[in-house]
Amino acid sequence: MLSEARAHDIRLGGSPLNFSGRSLQALTAAALLLPGVVTPLHAAEPGTLNVQVSRYEEGRRDLFDVDSRLAPLRADSLHLSGAMLLRNGIRANVALSQDTWSGATPVAVAPLAANGNRPILRNSSRGLVFAGASPIVNGRIALTEDFTPAGDARAVQVMSSASPELRRQADVGFEFPVDSPHARTLTASAGISDEPDYRSRYGRLGARIGLNDNLTTLSANTAFTRSDTHARLDADLQPYVTRNAYAEQLERGSPSDLLRGERRDRGVEIGVTQVLDAVSVLDAGIALNRASGFMENPYKVVTVVFAGNAATPASGDVRAFLEQRPDERRQLTFRAHYARHFAASDATLQLDYVHSRDDWGIATHSVELGWAQTLGAWTVTPRLRYYTQGAADFHVPWLLSRQNFRSISIDENGEPQVTPYSAALLPAHFSSDHRLASFGSASAGLTLQRRFAVGLVVEGGVEYYTRADGLHAGGGENGTYADFDFAMANIALTLDLGAAARRARREATDGHGAHAGHASHGKHPVPAGLMFTHAGQARGSFMTGYRASHQRQYGALLHGTQSASDDDVATAACNATAPCRMAPARMTMTMHMLDLMYAVNDTTTLMLMPQYMTMDMRLRRLAGAPMPQPGAHDHDGRSHTAGGLGDTLVAGLFTLHASATHGWQASLGVSVPTGSISREYRRTFQADGGLVHYDMQGGSGTWDLVPSLTWQATRGSWHSGVQVGGIRRLQSRNASGYRLGDQLQLSAWTLRTLNRYASLSLRAQWQRRGAIDGAFDAYNAAIGPMDFPDNHGGDFIDVGFGLNLALGGSGLALEWFAPVDEDVNGFQLERHGALAVTWHYSY
């Protein structure tokens, strides 16, 4: 028997537990697994599913006297992952991530006198518009006797904008229990990260062992990463960049060269987790990482001012060199994490310290303090972090070289001889990347977690970060030119599949198995592509879901209902003064949506649905189209991608009438314009980028009304329904000067339940989408039909074939949507079907 005093030592979630029976057994079992300190308690459950979206956004850089209108850098990320307990205690983890980023990023640092960041203006039908900024600093500047620029000598970052770029990552990992009483575990994982100019593949092996009655856990990991760079150099910048050091890695190409590099990382890490007492634990580790190969950033250049070899310089020849970093880097990292729980306040102190040091001369320290306060089912964790680092030995804002970049002399035959600069007179390594400079940063963040009894955790986090030279421990060294700040926010959802399985078993035991099979869709299953049908949830219940759709367009260009020739498109799809040169050859759009629903009462359900969109478009040159004019945007045969958070839907769903055989539901939603409508291509290939095509923008940009009315009926194993819905734009223009068309949609479906697990569905849908009203009020290249408002919208008829599955308390539905008839406005690319997938779980 346990003593009463010991009983009070057992707390979970801050509340004393009555430990008789199964709760004590479960708790003790969890505690005995106590690398549970390393692997959280919930990891012992059969499995988890995670969905997370996040945004990172920088503030504007201080360019001193330049009013840059380049949009600051922004990155949107989506993360999906799952863990599953397999046979023999083997645990598998799978994760998929992607992020899209675009915006302004520094490519160099130069004296202000070099006049970087010059705005590029362009004539348009709306007058002179901003089309970009020149990152070119080449030229001559006056120098004083002490070799400093005669004008404003302050360093300034030279910015360049980046087109939207997509990175995808996939990871898979396994944990193998070798000897569970002693918590010996082997781990293995591998993954790949892929983006247009960079790919890394990595693997990791590890082992954990519990000692000292599992109060001490030792761990060891080894990892290997291979990374390949294949970067297309900036075509605008390339003619001005000296890249002799990479002659063997450059592949000549048009319109610019390709720089290839390979990098390998090998790392080992050992760690120890020690339980100090019943309320505190220490986790520490030390890691050694060795990187070799190409470690440069292929888009960063260093400004070199060639001052000549005279004692008194007249002027400096400003040049740009690709940065040169050492080919080896060894870094040692020490980390420590201390956690202590305070029962009186039901809170946990979390303290982290990380120190690293490498042979580039960089030493870093970071300290982080968190306070996880439990408030009922909520956990609120404010955090503060301070970070400081020293500079790499080879970091310079810009270089001065006492030689000529190029000297011309007359040889003995009277012929001019050109003598280039001597690389030996330049440092072997140099970089002005601000991440290798000395600086400090301070950040403050807040994490909110809400735990639900059924094993669902919803969490969100925000953080503000400021980086400043003056925050460097020991004082600032470089001035404020590289200071900047950013904010990041995310929301995540974690579902414990064990809880779902237990719920399904309980419902089966209680005789509600049939209902459990349809829990994902309220009273009856519906085809995957339908929304606003989940009425009839019990008061106070939640429903969580994930919804994805993938649409494809390729093939012929349609004009109305007929295929159009390239000549027709070139002459009629754009405008008389600027015929179309390009047309879309293929376009895909993928949407990920999170469904969060709460039944206020038996007839009213509130819904919140954030979404993440990814679009990819490949263009082709129209046969017989005119060649591009100098300075005009053009990207024949190249695919471009955009992605990020889309608009967010907030809606109410109301049951108007419900009986055993039929029911009426209505919904009224508002679409909040959280998606970007100002995505731009960078100015590249000597051509202006401008705003990305309408279909590649992230949202409508307007507040929209989204109503629907649904009728559903049941007869035996047949479920049928009709839904009418639409989108009404509530504003006449968005911030980019246009408004998407309104939409009206009518769906009719029937669904046959085969057994308690599976149903098949058939659906027909008619949809009318209006054309775009207004037009971009900023520069857009207008190269093809997708850039003209009249070539959007139309009437569409589709047929959907679906399969619905009941999976232990949750429901999975798939629907393939095939186009039957389309009558498009203007000229548009033919559609080739869409796949919709939904997964819902109510609790």
């Binding site: 005995l32 549970g36 990892a223 090998r266 100090l276 956690a339 970071s366 968190g370 790499a392």
Partner: protein, 75 residues
Amino acid sequence: MRSMSRCTYRVLLAAATLGLGACTHVEPWQRGTLARPDMASEPAPLQQQVRRHVYGSREAGGITGGGSGGGCGCY
């Protein structure tokens, strides 16, 4: 490779020794608090993943063992 100061190592070693020496035995039934999610090495792994990715693309420190993705951080 530039050697880390011996003093730093000694301080860390002393702290680790003191820390382990200060341990008390905790019976299995006393470990409920230790199993709380906020006592884990990574109390909020999803949050930490986002933050680590951002820090890694903005700072030069703290590679712990490698073997993870994250892209080139070229921006």
